[in-house]
């Protein structure tokens, strides 16, 4: 197969590298190499040839005649030179044009840049980790501080605010997320409703499906699901966008024009997510409840109408305000974390990937932690007691 392909190429009739052992006139050992000693010919049999040449080179008095070689390149030259033990044999005959391939080989044998063994590697790694955490903390505090300063400026000069950017961001993170949040919310509602219905049926407590779904979805699941989806969808996009802007020097271009990127890029995203997130939560919770109601009517025979009319009694209004409050906090948190990681991206592709991954993981973790704090602080608000 290989040879066939190569034969079709012009001026490239394949030649095999050939090794012929012989004796010179005075009986000393000699070897003659001919054919092609280039990468195309050697690719398939480099290892075999190297072993054979090593054996031949073991006899240091051997005469090497390389002049019949028809094609030679650095690969072939290096292979021979390594077989000779990284030096030229005493008796070597070369074709005139081939000298160039051996001329700079001697310098190639320099020591490899090896990483020295470090006995306190673990300690160093721990220290580096602490310093990194410290750096993140400082960066985050600086970012929040800068944004607060910018917000006060914005309050004093509201006309100069980045309103267009904010509205564009609301569209991107909010409107365009309606479809996916609806789909996921609906399915979660259906699944939850089916699972609970099984249990409730066995206790004959069918009507409590309204309480379980109402409280669970409006207070906890709706906000968390919407936030996780938005963190994955918009958080990663924000980090990647800022990261690419760092790679292409767009951030530097903004800085030299005297346009602070916190105002033009970061503030709009935080504001937009703080606006869009509570609305998305309402939307997700609504759809999830609807899905739950449909499943309940099929499984428990509670009509969608009576499910919905039972909701206000089962779920105090305070829960909706709590969910909206969570939305504002979650949205701002996601945007803040995403921007923080986006600004830390170094101008190379690997850093962009790591930054985006870290951003999503951190923002989801931050959302869950914030949710736990909410649960503790507001544990006695919005509960309905029978």
């Amino acid at each position: 197969m290989t040879t066939n392909n190569m034969q079709q190429a012009p001026a490239q009739a394949i030649l095999d590298p050939e090794v012929k052992e012989s004796r010179t006139g005075d009986g000393s050992p000699a070897v003659t190499l001919s054919g092609a000693w280039d990468i195309r010919a050697l690719e398939a049999r480099a290892k075999l040839l190297k072993t054979r040449l090593r054996l031949l080179a073991a006899d240091s008095g051997r005469r090497w005649d390389l002049s019949p070689i028809q094609r030679l390149d650095h690969i072939g030259a290096l292979l021979l030179w390594q077989a000779w033990g990284k030096r030229r044999p005493a008796q070597l005959a070369l074709a005139p044009g081939h000298e160039v391939f051996f001329s700079n080989l001697d310098s190639a044998a320099g020591a490899a840049p090896r990483v020295p063994f470090d006995p306190v590697r673990l300690v160093r790694a721990l220290g580096a980790g602490m310093l990194l955490a410290h750096e993140h903390l400082i960066g985050m505090v600086q970012l929040i501080g800068q944004i607060l300063i910018d917000s006060f400026d914005l309050l004093r000069h509201p006309l100069r605010g980045p309103w267009r950017e904010i509205s564009a961001s609301v569209f991107r993170v909010g409107t365009q997320a309606l479809g996916i949040t609806a789909l996921v919310g609906f399915l979660i509602g259906v699944v939850l409703s089916y699972l609970s219905a099984e249990q409730l049926k066995s206790f004959g407590a069918n009507v409590f499906i309204v309480n379980i779904l109402g409280m669970g979805i409006i207070r906890e699941l709706g906000p968390v699901i919407a936030a996780v989806l938005v963190a994955g969808r918009s958080g990663s996009a924000i980090t990647a966008q800022l990261g690419v802007m760092r790679v292409t020097e767009e951030l530097d271009a903004l800085s030299v024009m005297g346009i602070p990127h916190t105002v033009r890029l970061i503030l709009p995203k935080i504001v937009a997510l703080a606006i869009a997130m509570p609305l998305l939560i309402l939307w997700t919770s609504g759809i999830a409840l609807f899905g739950g109601a449909i499943a309940a009517s099929m499984e428990l025979g509670i009509s969608v109408n009576s499910f919905l009319s039972g909701l206000p009694a089962a779920v105090p209004t305070a829960n909706i305000w709590l969910a909206m409050g969570k939305g504002i906090v979650f949205g701002a948190l996601i945007a803040l974390v995403a921007c923080h990681f986006g600004l830390r991206v170094q101008p190379n592709t690997e850093s962009l990937g790591i930054g985006t991954t870290n951003s999503v993981v951190t923002s989801i973790t931050a959302v869950i932690i914030a949710d736990a704090i909410f649960a503790v602080i507001f544990s006695d608000i919005g509960m309905s007691f029978l």
Binding site: M1, N5, A108
Partner: protein
């Protein structure tokens, strides 16, 4: 000798916009061919088509006698081992160190051991004048000139017969770009390479190329030596070669005397 690159009846079209119309180009072994043309004349597109990165609307591109579009994947893969490409920004893999960048094509062959690869990488680093202490660095820590040199080392590591250079001296300071031109010229003489390059830099063009292919009006208006190219009366050529910058570059190599004697 049979040609290394054969482009025949090539058409390129983006929507209604025709970039190349029945374009023909033949490159013989050992030649250094420069593609020049105004912006939007399709130099880079043509090079990408010869590299098999883009598909022409019509026409054939043969490299080493094998048609690039419509051949079996293995065949094209074989061709790809026989050419080296220097991209405009170097296109070093930013996740890999300088050493690993150059070693990657060799490792992909799975024919050589690490000791061999190490010596080969060092040899190529020497060849492009990069000190060894840079071998462990990441591309992000290097200057533009060094990135180009290392990218050239990577392009040359599989001992290609054909080398493509996309704007080899763009973004380098005059001093660096001159030494880069010298490097390419010496490599061309030493390794007997065939070189195809796209360039805007007149100094590079004048001092390196055997043949110049001028792309304008959707085809090659000239394909020949520098003298033949500047003898053609075409607005692009008048502007490009015989403008102020062009005259300076040409007078530096004494090409103008011959031109004046012609006119």
């Amino acid at each position: 000798m049979s040609p290394i690159i054969e482009v025949a009846g090539l058409w390129t079209q983006f929507g209604d916009h025709i970039v190349h119309k029945d374009l023909n180009l033949t490159v013989m072994p050992g030649e250094v061919v420069s593609l020049v043309g105004g912006s939007g004349s399709g130099k880079t597109t043509l090079m990408r088509q010869i590299l098999g990165l883009e598909q022409p609307a019509r026409g054939t591109v043969k490299v080493f006698g094998i048609p690039l579009h419509g051949s079996k994947v293995q065949m094209v893969q074989k061709i790809r081992k026989r050419w080296g490409v220097l991209f405009q920004q170097g296109a070093l893999y930013s996740a890999l160190s300088v050493y690993d960048n150059i070693a990657l094509p060799l490792r992909e062959l799975r024919a050589f051991d690490e000791d061999f690869i190490h010596d080969m990488v060092m040899l190529k680093l020497d060849m492009v004048d990069i000190e060894r202490r840079h071998a462990a660095k990441m591309p992000a820590d290097l200057s533009g000139g060094m990135i180009k040199r290392i990218a050239l080392a990577r392009a040359l590591v599989l001992e290609p017969e054909l080398v493509f250079l996309d704007e080899p001296t763009a973004g380098l300071d005059p001093d660096r770009s001159e030494s880069f031109v010298k490097l390419i010229r010496s490599l061309h003489q030493k390794l007997n390479l065939t070189v195809v390059m796209v360039t805007h830099d007149l100094d590079t063009l004048v001092s390196l190329s055997d043949k110049i292919a001028v792309l304008a009006e959707q085809k090659l208006i000239v394909y020949g030596s520098l003298q033949e190219a500047i003898a053609v009366k075409h607005p692009f050529i008048l502007n490009f070669f015989l403008g102020e910058r062009g005259l300076r570059a040409l007078s530096a190599v004494g090409a103008l005397g011959k031109l004046n004697s012609r006119i």
